[in-house]
Symmetry: C2
Subunit: 211 residues, 2 copies
Amino acid sequence: MKISELSDRSGLTVQTIKFYLREGLLPKGTSTAATRAEYDERHLKRLRLIRALREVADLPIAAITGIVTALDDDKIGLHDLLGTAQYALGPHVEPRADDADWRAARQDVDALIAELGWRVTPLAPARDLLAQTFVALRQLGFPIVLTGLRPYIEAAGAISAHETDQLTADAPRERALQGMIVTTVLYEQVLIALHRLAQEDASARRFGDES
Amino acid sequence: MKISELSDRSGLTVQTIKFYLREGLLPKGTSTAATRAEYDERHLKRLRLIRALREVADLPIAAITGIVTALDDDKIGLHDLLGTAQYALGPHVEPRADDADWRAARQDVDALIAELGWRVTPLAPARDLLAQTFVALRQLGFPIVLTGLRPYIEAAGAISAHETDQLTADAPRERALQGMIVTTVLYEQVLIALHRLAQEDASARRFGDES
DNA sequence: ATCGTTGGATAGCGATAATATCCAGCCCGA
DNA sequence: TCGGGCTGGATATTATCGCTATCCAACGAT
C-alpha cells in the first residue's frame, strides 16, 4: 500500500501522514527503494486510532505518542495500559503544594477515595483533577457536599463496572489492548455527550418554554 | 480596588487581567482619572469564574466570552443559558454531511434521542459529539450496540435529574445563573474525574497485581 | 520632587499541529 | 526508452492561542 492509498483510506492528507511518521506516531513502512515504501493494514488501523484520539478525544500528539508506544510494548498489561491512557488524558496540572486551599481539597479527595475503598494510585492525575475542581467550586461559592456527590459516585461506579465486564469478555491480546483504550478514551466522550443531552432534556422539562 | 489588588486576590497576573479586559472577558473598571480605574467585588467574582472555566474546564477564551456575555444578558433564562454553556463546551465539529458513515451515525443518534423521548434541539452540539464518537468506534471495530449504551444512558439521566433538582432549589436569579454554569461545566469535570477513578479501581480489582 | 504604580497600546513569544515547498529517485504507460 | 506524476525525506513556513513584555505618559502617595 502506498502512502497515497493510506491517505485515501484514512481520510488524512499525505502531508499529515508524513508528519505523523516524523513524530514517531506511525511506524515507518518497509522501504523497497530509495523513494518507495510499503504500508499495510496495521498502518491503516493505527492511523484510524490516531485520528479518533485526535479528533474525538482531542488529545495532543504527545499524549497519543505515549498511548501508541504503550500499545506496541508487548510486555504491558491491561491495567498498566489504563494508567498510561489516563495519564495521557490529563490534566497536566502540577499540584500546587503551596496553596492551602488546594492541599485541603486534595486531602478531601484522598479521604473520599479511601472511604470508598477504591484502589487508586496516589499518583493518578484524576485525583488532581477532582481536587482542582473542588477548589474552583468552593471559590465560586458552591462548596461540594458529600451527599451531593453520591449520584456521581454511583454513576461512575456502575459505568466502570460495566466497562470492565466488557473488557474481560474479549480475548485476543491485541484487541483487548485496543479495547482498553477505546473504553477509556472514547466511551468517556459517549458519557459526556449523553450527559449533556440528558441535561438539556431535564432542563427543557423544568425550565423550557412549551413547544 | 486597584488592578494590583485584583491580581493578588484572584491569583492572576496584572498582565493577564489586562489581557482579559482587552478581550472583553472582564468589564472595565470605572475610570477615576486618565491612569486610574476602580474595580469591585463583581470584577473579582468574574475573574474567579473565568479562571475556573479556563483552568478546570480548559475552555478557550472565545467560549468563556460567550458564557459571560450570556450571564450579563438580563433577558436570558436558565434554559437558554444552558444552551449557551453547552455550545461553548463544544465540540466545534462541523457535521460532514458528505460522509455517509457520519450521516448514518447522526441518524442513529437522532433515533436514539427520539426513542428516549428526550427533548433536545436538533442543533445541540452534543448530538454531533455523540455521532462523531459512534463513527470512530465503528471504524475501530467496536460498533456501538444499544444495550451496551444502557448503563451510560441511565447514569446520564440520573445525574441530570439530580442536577436539575439542585438548581431549582436555589432562588436568586444571579446565583441561579451562576449555578447553571457551575453545574454544567464544573460538575462535568467531577463526573469525568470520578469515572476515571472508578475505572482504575475496577481495573485494579480485575487485572491488577496484588498489592 | 520623586518614585513606584496605573491604564492603555503595541509588539513579541512559545507551544502546537499542521502545511508547503523542494528535491532527487523511481514506476508505469505510451 | 522516455517523461509525467508520484514518492520518501528534509526543511521551511503558517496559523492559532494564550498569554508576556515593553513602553509611555499620567498619576498620587511620601
